[in-house]
């Protein structure tokens, strides 16, 4: 009862693994697929291999996490093997990709065989990549268009919340031909160690994820749903089934789960069974609750 079609992909449930979590190896993606996810998204893959920022690259803060991994990845040249391995999990595998310009993006997309692409134009802490691009509607449209032209599978665009107006960026993605937008990447943040006054992250600042940002996710999804014709995929702070339902009611056709996977690898199964029970009790379908907060 949780199955759906999302940009042409058939998902057994609307719960996906978010990019950058357990997403560097094919086997870890497969593990999450077998643990009940409706689809899995890979770590963001670039044109060259990168080691990322120096450690500490992630730290727990009140009600969430800060990370500045710095997009470590083995580059697309090494990554088809992982995608193929991941596919053994039996659910769609979405390749998250990033680059410095539309050429980078289309080069990578052309070279990889995946069920869909998610364009990371929103990572808040890799210089010259990600959110520095994702705050400019023209660039977002351009990149989306380039990838759409290069591939025949669905293209999703992942948005940053660190903008004055996320709707304009969502609209740019839609104009560029995106099949869906994904909201949100992490929220700009920073933590300082008061014993030493050092910023804790090796990169000094990073992106906030986890429970702390869920209200931001709900608002972004709600706003995007109001202006876009393409589906919105919600991500950010979803930690239990209630959060998933809330984000879907805000207007997400499906959701992704990142940080919360760390403490509960089985979260996809847990959420889907609780969501089913909730829908059953309320006599609602998944489609009924989709965007429901806009109807009251």
């Amino acid at each position: 009862m949780l199955s759906l079609t999302l940009t042409g992909l058939n998902l057994k449930n609307p719960l996906m693994l978010a990019a950058g979590i357990m997403g560097t190896t094919g086997d870890s993606l497969k593990r999450i697929a077998l643990a009940g996810a409706g689809a899995v998204v890979t770590k963001s893959i670039g044109t060259e291999s990168r080691g990322g920022h120096s450690n500490p690259s992630m730290v727990e803060v009140d009600c969430g996490y800060l990370n500045a991994m710095g997009l470590p990845n083995p580059s697309y040249k090494d990554f088809q093997y992982e995608i193929d391995r991941a596919s053994e999990g039996g659910v769609p595998v979405i390749a998250s990709i990033f680059g410095g310009c539309s050429l980078d993006f289309s080069e990578i997309a052309k070279s990889l065989d995946a069920d869909a692409f998610e364009l990371n134009v929103s990572c808040p802490h890799a210089h010259g990549y990600g959110a520095e691009i994702g705050t400019d509607p023209a660039l977002v449209e351009d990149i989306t268009h380039a990838v759409k032209t290069a591939v025949n599978v669905p293209v999703w665009v992942k948005l940053t919340p660190n903008v004055t107006d996320i709707k304009s960026i969502g609209l740019a993605a839609q104009h560029g031909g995106a099949d869906a937008v994904v909201a949100i990447n992490t929220v700009r943040g920073m933590a300082i160690d008061i014993e030493s006054s050092y910023p804790i992250l090796g990169n000094k600042f990073g992106g906030l994820s986890g429970r702390a940002i869920k209200p931001v996710t709900v608002k972004c999804v709600y706003d995007l749903y109001e202006v876009l014709d393409i589906p919105v995929i919600g991500v950010g702070g979803i930690s239990d089934w209630k959060d998933a339902v809330e984000v879907i009611m805000a207007g997400a056709k499906a959701v992704q789960i990142g940080s919360a996977v760390g403490n509960n690898i089985n979260i996809f199964n847990d959420i889907s069974s609780c969501m089913e029970a909730f829908l059953q009790e309320k006599e609602w379908s998944l489609d009924d609750i989709y965007g429901m907060a806009h109807e009251v």
């Binding site: 690259s57 727990e60 050092y198 804790i200």
Partner: protein, 248 residues
């Protein structure tokens, strides 16, 4: 958790390239668990707890070198303990330690001995001077030694010391992956536990950098049963900090 400020109270030279750093902070520890040690301004690296309030570090690169610059009263940031640690089995156990791999095994030897478990340790190093925690293992049971240069014990690899592995109720192993792979090939996998080494970033099971066949070294490990490792990339591939696979 944020990093806890741990002040170095004492530094002990264990071997020419290995030092133990004692802290003013005590951790509740299962032997085999590790902490993330933040050398501020430099890097944050995983280190097994070799005592409930200490790590034992081999100088191998920039972060460990920076650690070696520190003195008593200096401090580091510590997150953890993380990971599962060794599962302690009754009976007569065998520890197989290569180099600084003795660090997590020493507290295991002591804890097992205290609980009346018989402990035999096979201790290997390049040379006599580099044998780590020989005294601690000796106090907890029998020790047999191998050195690469024959300066003490048998001349050869510690793996050559393994005899009749089935006699032991459980075998615990930590050292270079190649050595551990040899141990795995010699013993009954379900009866052996290995403490693995992979590149650790988050340390808390989220980023996936440390995965080996989908298992997170930082969270599902670092200790894995031989049974699980038998059919894995263990001993075949490792991954660097980019996630690239490379032959071990």
């Amino acid at each position: 958790m944020r990093p806890v400020n741990a002040v170095i109270t004492k530094i002990v030279d264990e071997t020419p390239a290995i030092r133990t750093f004692f802290f003013d902070t005590t951790f509740e520890l299962i032997p085999g668990q590790f902490v993330m040690v933040w050398i501020r301004g430099v890097d944050e690296i995983p280190m097994a707890l070799s005592y409930e309030n200490a790590i034992t570090v081999q100088k191998v690169g920039h972060a460990t070198s920076a650690l070696f610059e520190l003195e008593a009263c200096d401090s580091v940031g510590i997150r953890g303990p993380f990971g599962n640690g060794f599962g302690i089995e009754k009976g007569h156990i065998l520890l197989v330690a290569g180099g600084v791999g003795a660090a997590p095994l020493a507290p295991l030897a002591e804890k097992a001995d205290e609980s009346g478990i018989k402990v035999t340790t096979l201790l290997g190093a390049k040379t006599k001077d580099e044998l780590l925690f020989r005294g601690r293992f000796g106090a907890a049971g029998d020790v047999r030694v191998a050195t690469d240069d024959g300066s003490e014990g048998i001349h050869g690899f510690v793996t050559q010391l393994i005899e009749e592995p089935d006699r032991y109720s459980q075998i615990y192993c930590c050292g270079p992956e190649i050595m551990m792979k040899k141990v795995l090939d010699k013993v009954a996998p379900p009866k052996a536990q290995f403490s693995l080494h992979r590149y650790i970033k988050c340390g808390i099971g989220i980023c996936g950098a440390c995965c080996i066949d989908g298992l997170r070294v930082c969270r599902d490990g670092p200790v894995f049963s031989g049974e699980i490792l038998k059919k894995s990339e263990f001993g075949v591939y490792r991954r660097n900090e980019c996630g690239e696979r490379a032959r071990v």
